[in-house]
């Protein structure tokens, strides 16, 4: 078994594009779920809206890249408003059902045959990332230390991505220290108490939904740009639940929780996956096939989510008293 391969892939995954994307998605989710106590099960929808915002603007309409980013952000804000108006007055379980439904609506619409001309159907869109890679500050080649290396395109995505993650963390830190952030946390703890203090709870929740959604759409941009393509089925409900696992693993309601969670989650996931694949390929494990490794990985994520919530709902960094797990 090639242990160098296994460990280098795991480390690459831990700092790679997937970790960045999920860190951003989970930072957005942290604002919804961790700080405000909104059970948003539709984070994938925000990523999809962002990704398709930029992809459609550039690839279908032929407009400039930066306008695409603006449209993607605007679409995320609009999506948050559309989602929030009917649901934010409702109980947690209704919110969960409606957000998951809304994210599926987005996915089904962009993959539909009827709108293939605009969104590219199941094949998705491509050829929208040239301007982004045109700004690349690295010259072509491989960059890395020892067995861990990225090419210039990936390195450019990672540079932009980690800067966005750092910026998002800084903003979240400042905002959550501010009076506005304290109101959000108070809403999570006791909505009625906050209402009795004369705060407009609905409006605060809506602002939190928009804020987290916009950060989610940043993750969507990176997802689309890193692959230089978007496909609708990338934005299935699994993405949201992976982001939840990341968030809860790292620790909800903590600034660095989602980042730590994403790094550890992807490192572990790829360690186990590559490890199993190598073991199967070298006949160390003989009772499963390489194709089954993927499903075992997903099973482990599901199991991990269950065990985390039962035995350590606060994750690595969190505080058990600060998590909205009993909210109605």
């Amino acid at each position: 078994m090639d242990w160098t391969l296994i460990f280098s892939r795991a480390v690459e995954a831990g700092i790679g594009t997937e970790a960045v994307i999920y860190a951003l998605a989970a930072i957005g989710l942290n604002i919804h779920f961790g700080y405000t106590g909104l059970l948003n099960f539709g984070q994938a929808g925000f990523l999809a809206v962002g990704a398709y915002g930029v992809a459609t603007t550039v690839a279908t309409l032929g407009l400039p890249f930066w306008l695409g980013i603006v449209i993607g952000l605007a679409a995320a804000v609009l999506f948050a408003l559309l989602l929030g108006i009917p649901t934010l007055r409702l109980r947690a379980d209704y919110l969960a059902i409606v957000t998951i439904a809304a994210a599926e609506i987005v996915r089904l619409v962009v993959r539909s045959v009827a709108l293939q001309g605009t969104f590219g159907g199941t094949d998705g869109l491509e050829a929208f990332s040239d301007d982004f890679y045109g700004m690349n500050i690295y010259s072509p080649g491989q960059y890395g230390i020892g067995p861990i290396a990225f090419d210039h395109r990936t390195l450019w995505v990672l540079t932009v991505g980690w800067i966005l993650v750092a910026a998002a963390c800084a903003v979240v830190y400042l905002v959550m220290k501010s009076p506005w952030g304290r109101v959000l946390k108070a809403i999570r703890e006791d909505e009625d108490a906050v209402r009795s203090l004369g705060k407009n709870v609905f409006s605060y929740k809506m602002q939190a939904l928009v804020f987290g959604g916009v950060i989610g759409s940043l993750a969507g941009f990176l997802f689309a740009l890193s692959r230089a393509a978007t496909q609708p089925d990338l934005f299935s409900t699994e993405l949201t639940f992976f982001a939840y696992t990341v968030l809860i693993l790292g620790g909800a309601a903590r600034v660095f929780g989602p980042v730590l969670g994403a790094v550890i989650f992807w490192c572990l996931l790829i360690l186990v996956k590559t490890g199993m694949e190598e073991a199967v390929n070298h006949q160390v494990i003989t009772f499963i096939t390489v194709n089954q490794v993927g499903s075992i990985n997903y099973m482990l994520v599901g199991l991990g989510l269950v065990l985390l919530l039962i035995y350590r709902p606060q994750g690595i960094l969190g505080d058990k008293r600060e998590i909205a797990l009993d909210a109605r």
Partner: protein
């Protein structure tokens, strides 16, 4: 290392699609699955010729509707569906598209789609847009019938969601997988042990009931006793759903599989409606089960106790009802009925590890429309959702029919959040 990065990203994104269809085919081939309204169509001859008219190969669609023709090299091919071999009641949706020209790329397979529809030799029963009002109403009748069939299956699943929510407060996101598990238990009994589906179905329902009972007895019950919050339980149910779904993928693979019996039947015409005998029997069973559960809830001691627990667990407990026992029975019942729904879905459509997940949101829509926690509301809501999903295809493309139902769900929450039969209470 670039290879590793590409392989890794490709894995993550495409896993879903890859696992659901075998992309590891050797050489180039043309393949497809013939389906009419979700049901596989077998025994249809497909022939392939190369671009310059040389015959390449022939295939006949199997019991699962699948066909495949190996082609010697990449290039363009003509695929022809022999319309004479289509079973009675099934025709090509577009008569002029019996021959398709497709391009096959190096090392890839190419899926070829023939759109099929219900109809007879005289013409398709569902013309694209109305040929007069009678054709329109024929189409409405056909879709309403299909909607009823779907709605009944959703209702069986929604009943369990609603009862479990009513008695425990848990919104179970793993309920879709309970359908899939039931369907696959029947599949194992049916194809591995060779039992006829009529025997396998009741056995599978009993096993499913045991699975539900065990789940409550050893998992959800202890969690409740630990005072686990409802939101945690909801997220836990998502973990359970993922675990079960990919366990089924691990065990049975991502292929669509059919049961041994009742795969393809010749259609029959019932007034304006095309259907198959098996769908009629399935609908009969579903209606019988729904009525039985409804009567049991209304008239038996157990049913009354269940409703009492739904209403107020503390009060029910203080009046001598064993709340834990009721909840266990509800879980067993809910899972059994969900399993039955899965089997019915499997006979009318096909088995796949994602089949339950695909109807989960429709079940939620039904439950929410009817009013969360009211069993009869779930029933009415599900039938409405089923009908709506199918009939809406008159105006919107079929692949967007779920979107319509989910959009209506969101709109209903704006206007009447407690649902059709729900009690007006604060749910904010």
């Amino acid at each position: 290392m670039r290879r590793a990065v590409i392989a890794f990203t490709a894995f993550l994104g495409a896993l879903f699609i890859l696992l659901a269809s075998p992309a590891w085919a050797e050489g180039e081939s043309l393949r497809g699955t013939l389906q009419n309204q979700g049901q596989p169509v077998n025994g249809v001859k497909i022939s392939v010729t190369s671009g310059d008219g040389q015959p390449v190969g022939e295939a006949t669609s199997g019991a699962d509707g699948k066909w495949e023709v190996q082609v010697p090299a990449a290039g363009s091919y003509k695929v022809t569906l022999d319309q004479a071999t289509l079973p009675a009641g099934t025709v090509l949706k577009f008569k002029d598209r019996a021959t398709l020209s497709v391009q096959v790329f190096e090392g890839n397979y190419r899926n070829v789609l023939f759109a099929l529809a219900s109809g007879d030799a005289a013409g398709v029963a569902t013309p694209p847009d109305g040929g007069g009002s009678s054709a329109f109403w024929t189409r409405v009748a056909q879709l309403a019938f299909e909607g009823l069939s779907l709605g009944l299956i959703i209702a069986l699943g929604a009943l369990g969601i609603s009862l479990i929510f009513g008695t425990t407060g848990l919104t179970n996101f793993a309920h879709g997988e309970l359908l899939t598990v039931g369907a696959f238990i029947a599949f194992v009994l049916n194809s591995t042990f060779g039992l006829h589906l009529l025997i396998a179905t009741p056995l599978a329902v009993i096993v499913a009931a045991g699975f539900g009972y065990g789940q409550e007895r050893f998992f959800w019950g202890p969690l409740r006793n630990r005072k686990t919050g409802l939101v945690s339980m909801m997220i836990i149910s998502i973990g359970v759903a993922m675990f079960l779904r990919y366990l089924l993928l691990f065990l049975f693979g991502g292929e669509n599989v059919p049961y041994e019996q009742y795969v393809a039947q010749d259609g029959i015409k019932l007034g304006p409606v095309f259907t198959t005998p098996k769908s009629l029997i399935a609908m009969g069973i579903e209606i019988a089960v729904l009525i039985a559960v409804g009567l049991a809830l209304t008239f038996t001691r157990l049913g009354k106790a269940t409703r009492a627990v739904s209403d107020n667990p503390a009060l029910a407990a203080s009046s001598g009802i064993n709340v834990d026992r009721i909840i266990r029975i509800v879980w067993a019942m809910g899972t059994a009925v969900a399993g039955l729904a899965g089997i019915m879905l499997g006979t009318t459509q096909i088995l796949n590890f994602q089949m339950g997940q695909q109807v989960l949101l429709l079940m939620f829509a039904g439950v929410t429309l009817g009013g969360l926690g009211t069993a009869f509301g779930a029933l009415v809501g599900s039938l409405v959702v089923g009908m709506f999903v199918q009939i809406s295809t008159i105006w919107i493309p079929p692949e967007l029919k779920t979107v319509g139902a989910l959009a209506v769900l969101i709109l209903v929450l704006l206007v009447r959040p407690q649902g059709i039969l729900g009690r007006r209470e604060r749910i904010g």
